[in-house]
């Protein structure tokens, strides 16, 4: 193993620190629900979920609870909900310059910006969404620059991002829509230029990757060293100068990160499909307002769709948005996920439960809507070994409701993360 690989591994190990969520406050707790949607098999009537040391220890209908164990009851119990795409923690509640960290406008191409360096776990909107049962959020740099930065998966608790973190370096956020367009002679000024710039960067990353691999091959074969064992600084005999931007894109080329591309117009969706086919990378199609006009093409591409919030406003690139798109995509067999998205004004954050509810009532249906914000999202984000369903060994993340969670008039009565009750009442 060459030195280069060693340094890359160092980079990744720093980056891959999985959230060692503090369970110091976790108490053993039991939850009984008249209906428990485990999302791992049929719902359980009058089910009990026992959480010990922050993990689910037992699920059943006849569970003997130790004396003194706290029991919380609810009409409906679900896994903690997952928001498949947000900018929570980067787009702070006040919407003032000092709490907005979703963009740096110095360059349209900054895939090297990490979300762990920007996420504020103490923003009040984190508390807000979790009071409705959202326990896991895929968040990071926002749509609106060609490549604005990276994303992470966090829990909606923790004093530090390290405590909140579930998965780092999840995706690079890219945008192929009018919102990434620049005026005044700056690039990208057109859609053609946007795609050209993305292709140029990915090709550069391919070349960078080839250089790394040539160097590693030489190191492995031992012929990259001079007589004293030092690496020669000529082509293939020394690692390329480190380039954080290209390193990030090599992660995309290698599938360690997805390329999350926000595109709304049908023509932009077609560009995303074309880009994916050219580079063979993992692409998540994001927002996709006109996906209902491109169902066959999207299905053929195999791309998953993290659909715009159902209540997205119909103007600009979103003017043809439909509340029925989630149902149409799911009905056609396209994997579809729900998000709160990015809001520049009011409401500063959407609540993915509410967005899924409107989709449920407009063709997606209860079962698929609930799957989209639990186990399906967990699988897409590659965190299903920890969250997304109620199964023994998984994190003790639960959402409790006094009725159908999608009903406007139901309340979230408690939210539990890693066995800690983080919200109670009637939200």
């Amino acid at each position: 193993m060459g030195k280069c690989k060693a340094f890359r591994r160092a980079v990744f190990s720093a980056a891959l620190v999985t959230g060692v969520a503090s369970v110091a406050q976790a108490q053993d707790i039991a939850v009984r629900g008249e209906m428990v949607y485990t999302m791992a098999g049929e719902p359980i009537e009058n089910g009990v979920v026992v959480v010990r040391d922050g993990k689910i220890a037992q699920i059943g209908t006849t569970v003997a609870l130790p004396a003194g164990m706290r029991l919380i009851q609810a009409k409906v119990v679900t896994p903690g909900l997952i928001d498949a795409h947000s900018t929570l923690g980067l787009t702070g509640m006040l919407n003032q310059d000092q709490d907005q960290d979703q963009f740096d406008h110095a360059s349209p191409l900054q895939p090297e910006l990490r979300a762990i360096d920007a996420y504020n776990p103490k923003d009040e909107l984190v508390d807000w969404v979790r009071s409705f049962g959202i326990t896991t959020v895929h968040t990071g740099h926002a749509p609106g620059e060609l490549m604005s930065g990276q994303t992470i998966v966090v829990k909606t608790r923790g004093n530090t991002v390290e405590e909140a973190l579930v998965r780092d370096n999840v995706a690079v956020a890219a945008t192929l829509s009018s919102s990434a367009r620049k005026s005044g002679g700056k690039s990208p000024g057109t859609r053609g230029k946007m795609v050209a710039m993305l292709r140029e960067q990915l090709i550069k990353a391919q070349e960078y990757k080839a250089k790394l691999e040539r160097y590693e091959a030489k190191q492995a074969s031992g012929d990259g060293d001079d007589e004293e064992g030092k690496v020669l600084a000529s082509e293939g005999k020394a690692p390329p100068t480190r380039d954080l931007r290209l390193e990030s894109l090599v992660d995309v080329l290698d599938g360690r990160m997805a390329l999350l591309v926000t595109a709304d117009r049908a023509q932009d969706i077609a560009s995303v499909i074309r880009l994916q086919q050219e580079f063979g990378i993992t692409v998540w199609l994001d927002s996709a307002s006109e996906a209902h006009m491109m169902v066959d093409e999207i299905k053929a591409s195999g791309l998953p769709v993290i659909l715009h919030p159902t209540m997205t406003r119909a103007f600009g690139d979103h003017e043809n948005v439909s509340m029925e798109t989630a149902g149409k995509l799911a009905g056609a067999g396209v994997p579809v996920f729900m998000q709160s998205g990015f809001e520049g004004y009011v409401p500063k954050v959407r609540v993915v439960l509410f967005e899924a509810g409107v989709a449920a009532a407009n063709g997606l249906g209860f079962d698929r809507a609930l799957k989209a914000i639990t186990i399906d999202a967990a699988k897409l984000l590659d965190v299903d070994h920890r969250v997304g369903s109620l199964e023994v060994g998984k994190d003790g993340d639960l959402a409790l409701y006094d009725g159908d969670p999608f009903e406007y008039t139901s309340h979230c009565t408690a939210t539990i993360i890693d066995g800690v009750v983080v919200s109670e009442g009637a939200h």
Partner: protein, 454 residues
């Protein structure tokens, strides 16, 4: 004038039906649950409409259906009054005042609305039949609002086709004012709250003097002495209308101290005012109730987005209701989508508003705010036949508006493919006018309508 012709036709219709007395123009909606708003809900009711008005309403068996009436079976459905949205920007960029100054009461949004804008089609898809369409909050006074009646059975040719008009043919509406951070800016816009109130007082004092000059020019017999009349001033005329209670002020205001400033100015100059948004209305609910000033509130799905909305609570409408305020809700479309106006009432109920109060906040409370409680807002005999037919409870997420009727004519039918498009969205459904660009804020790369803003 189409409107004039319609009135003539309507008058003839009334005469004809009175002459025949057979209810030939009547329609009876039979079997639905009725939510009259001004009385208890009726499980199986009958609603009879005739010549654009409600002619009977009550429980099945208690209401005699005219012999000639068309019977429409609506068993299993729910009928409630057409929704009244007291604060909307749905026409997609309609505006009044421009960037030249902070106080422009003479400018009318009436002159900038495209009656063909798809937003109106979306509004009826949400069960709305009456809108107060307003200019934005980027000014201390951004101009005159319009009260619109969504007669969309045919494509409107001019805005008058979908307007509430006064007896003299002039458009009905209020006056939009705002305080807090939205109207702040570089001079001549105010830089502080104190300056904002000063600028407003200065103009109202000028208007008092203008009114006094007009009075001095008025002879004892009511004729005018042209030599004494001040030069006509459209801005002053509008403010005088406000002070003479011919026009209501619709005042954007969020923070508790800003709300109190509105009440203070309203008292000083004697204008009638409706408090809009009132994000911190929970903090001064008793003061609002004591002032007897109605409220048009909004619920959005999270607090923040701007400093003055940081304390926004879902519970605020309910708190104000309990304090005794007359609380309406509004969509502020595009801030929230007016097709989901029922949802807002449901969210208010979720957070503590009574069910009756929540349903009233979409209908009769709004009618009162627009001074039209004798004409709309409830299912009552003599009122306009404006109503929505739903397939379930109005506060359920799974309920959809099936039909909307305005003055006895169906203006939305979800089973119609084109209407369905406006109800859920899709290709062409969102094509409104382009927004006016003066008050766009491109910060953070996002276009948001400061001028139209909540």
């Amino acid at each position: 004038m189409r409107q004039g012709m319609k009135l003539v036709v309507l008058a003839l219709g009334v005469a004809a039906s009175a002459a025949l007395a057979l209810g030939a123009n009547a329609k009876a909606f039979v079997g639905a649950k009725l939510i009259p708003i001004d009385g208890p809900e009726i499980d199986r009711g009958v609603l009879v409409i005739e010549d654009g008005k409600i002619s009977a309403v009550g429980a099945e068996g208690d209401v005699s259906i005219p012999a000639g009436a068309e019977r429409i079976d609506v068993a299993g459905k729910v009928i409630m009054p057409g929704l009244v949205d007291t604060h909307s920007h749905v026409a997609g960029g309609a505006s009044a005042a421009d960037g030249s100054g902070p106080i422009q009461p003479g400018v009318r949004i009436y002159d900038s609305i495209n009656p063909r804008a798809s937003g109106f089609k979306r509004a009826v898809a949400g069960g709305l039949t009456t809108l107060n369409v307003m200019p934005g909050s980027g000014h201390l006074c951004s101009g005159q609002t319009v009260y619109m009646k969504l007669r969309l059975a045919e494509t409107p040719h001019t805005i008058d086709d979908i307007m509430y008009l006064n007896a003299d043919g002039s458009p009905m509406g209020g006056l939009k004012m705002a305080n807090g951070t939205n109207p702040q800016g570089d001079p001549p816009f105010p830089g502080t709250r104190g300056k904002a109130a000063y600028l407003v007082r200065e103009q109202y004092i000028k208007a008092q003097e203008y009114a006094a000059a007009v009075k001095r020019a008025t002879n004892a017999d009511g004729t005018m002495d042209a030599s004494k009349m001040p030069a006509r001033d459209l801005d002053m005329e509008a403010l005088v209308e406000v002070m003479e209670h011919k026009r209501v002020v619709h005042h954007h205001t969020h923070r508790a101290d800003d709300i109190m400033t509105v009440l203070r100015l309203s008292k000083e100059f004697g204008f009638r005012v409706v408090l809009h948004h009132v994000s911190e209305g929970n903090r001064v609910a008793d003061e609002i109730a004591a002032a007897g000033v109605p409220v048009s509130a909004i619920i959005v799905d999270s607090p923040g987005g701007k400093l003055e909305a940081r304390n926004l609570l879902l519970a605020t409408p309910g708190i104000m209701e309990r304090a005794g305020c007359n609380v309406a809700l509004h969509s502020d479309d595009w801030i929230t989508d007016c097709r989901l106006f029922l949802r807002m009432a449901a969210m208010a109920h979720r957070a503590g508003m009574t069910r009756a109060g929540a349903l009233r906040s979409l209908t009769l409370a709004g009618a009162e705010i627009l001074d039209m409680q004798d004409r709309i807002g409830s299912l009552a005999v003599g009122k306009d036949a404006d109503f929505a037919i739903l397939d379930g409870d109005p506060l359920s997420a799974y309920t959809h508006v099936q039909e909307t009727w305005c003055e006895g004519v169906r203006v939305f039918d979800r089973s119609n493919e084109q209407d369905h498009l406006y109800a859920v969205g899709g290709a062409g459904a969102g094509h409104d006018q382009e927004p006016y660009l003066c008050c766009y804020d491109h910060d953070n790369g996002v276009q948001h309508l400061n001028a139209e803003a909540n």
